[in-house]
Amino acid sequence: MRSIISVLLENEPGALARVVGLFAQRAYNIESLTVSPTNDLTLSRMTITTEVDCKATLEQMMKQLHKLVDVLRVSELTEGAHVERELLLIKVRTSNNEDREEVKRTCDIYRGQIVDITQHLYTIQLTGAGVKLDAFIDTINNASEIVEVVRSGVCGIARGEKALRG
């Protein structure tokens, strides 16, 4: 099952390495990982998406994360109502006007933005859940040649009152 884990940890050198090391050491799988300082610059917020075989593995994973001295809070987002977003930057090459129009139309449908343009290249920015980005990439591939793809990995937050605070 797919899980999204939010981690609040000390913004210290080596803290990220400890988390990544833990996943490697205990043979846990990381699908994506994002990390950045929060409004409190002494803390970092991390979102990890992972695939686990059962609930017990997920529990053990969360306990192991919490055991790291640098980690303040750990919570699982997929259990409750939550918002998850991922940023996609994609550069595509088009050869004719028809394709360029198709790219523009597809962008509009997906509510993407064209953020850079040259004679033959479009760079498009799109946010959404991973499945939406997947679908967009598939569609855009029909009208253009994909040059490169950058995805940020998932950022997640719980809906409503629930919050992960220091």
């Binding site: 090391g21 017990a56 192991q64 001295v69 303040l72």
Partner: protein, 574 residues
Amino acid sequence: MEMLSGAEMVVRSLQDEGIEHIFGYPGGSVLDIYDAIFQSDKIQHYLVRHEQAAVHMADAYSRATGKVGCVLVTAGPGATNCITGIVTAYMDSIPLVVLSGQVPTNWIGDDAFQEADMIGISRPVVKHSFSCRTAEDIPIAIKKAFYIASTGRPGPVVIDLPKDVQSPLNKFPYEYPESVELRSYKPTLSGHKGQIKRALAALLGAKKPVFYVGGGSIIANASKQVLELAEKLNLPVTNTLMGLGAFPGEHKQFIGMLGMHGTYEANNSMHNADLIFSAGARFDDRVTNNVDKFCPNAKIMQIDIDPTSISKNIHADLPIVGSIEVVLQQMLDLLEETKATNDSESINAWWDQINEWRAKDCLAYQTSETHIKPQQVIQCLYKVTKGDAIVTSDVGQHQMVAAQYYPFKEPRQWINSGGAGTMGFGLPAAMGCKIAFPDRPVVCVTGDGSIQMNIQELSTCMQYNIPVVILLLNNRSLGMVKQWQKMFYGGRQSHSYMDSVPDFVKLSEAYNHIGIKVDTIDQLEPALERAFELKDRVVFVDVAIDPEEHVYPMQVKFGSMQDMYLSQTERTDA
């Protein structure tokens, strides 16, 4: 405010932390710290012959005293030589602070001479680590390191100290913090009240309980509570390899060690129990055997200070996170308050059953006209030391035989590498214990494979006159490997022979120690008597034992707890 250099801050911080003994090896990156140590009269430093031994010495010093062990080594190979020692401490939850030198900060990352990324290399096997980038970081890093190492589930902490940070040229105001608080690290000590109530109710209601006591009980200094609760409720008690001594080995309620080489009665009691009450044990694979067949009828109740130990291998029906000492005391207080008791009739019936298993006398063995049996050696050791020695061991058959045949009276008397299974641990461990307790007899029970993994420390013993007794169960082979090869590999003894075992008596004499060779059973007791009478000398007793002897009982692979080989010819599930 007092002005000190980084190097002086290291030494002063250790002094202010109350450190009296430190184990280490100097080198380029820690010369300034060694210079500061030279000028300190409060810290006694022991120069080892290999850094791994320094860590084992500090580790065993900690196991024997409960204090934090402390190590100082140089950068690069000095630091990496510590890794096996750090793993050993990590696996058995032993509090250590390892200070390692590092190349100057402006060289880090340049592959400088003796540069190794110690923080990175040690990361998976430490509880935490610090890298000091300025001298002013040092006192707070040391304070935090000792706090983290010794609280919660203890473990090793590494502090990386670049050379420029130690420089005697720059002085900074020094103040050692009195206390420290970390917002992201707050171990739970007392148990959840509702869980305590439920746990006590479950314990009182159990008809076939087993009190499964592990090394965590020793670390938490909970032996008093273990004994009191066990006696009040007449519970059968089994200890893990790491838990030996947490409950008196000769107590009538002690049913022996459990697990792979556990007793027939302990393993049968576990398998047939209706309640397993675990205190500071982690359901390790050397205990459970096949987890799918583990204790089929038992409810599992588990106390541990580390939440990750709970339900890791075996699901706990009733988990309690907290210090073993505090939680057991909470249970005792509640027991006292409610005046509740368990059903003595069913407990007596359970004891009748256990005593039947006991009557099997699974530790009985055949003596021989021609060979000394390893069991005889340990029993003789017990007799000569009156059960009062601190016994350290290496890893292998001798370790299991010592665990089985030397009933430990008290906690911190049995010092061995349980989790990591580190050969070479025994001798430096004995030295660390002897330094902590110079007036107590300390013996290292070892094998001819293990002793040669850190034998260079005989030289350290000579330098500081650390008079330990080394008791070598010499079977001229890697006994446990050989046992497995005989049992499971068609007898093909691939590389488990030591074709050229040295003359250990001569070797000991080369280091100005006393060596005694024992070839026949009648020589054994006089040799051991003499070894312990020579209180100010290292005595190396080399006992030629039966090379064909196996360790029994032994659990049958993939079986349940109660499936065991009892001898070369008897198997319970056959």
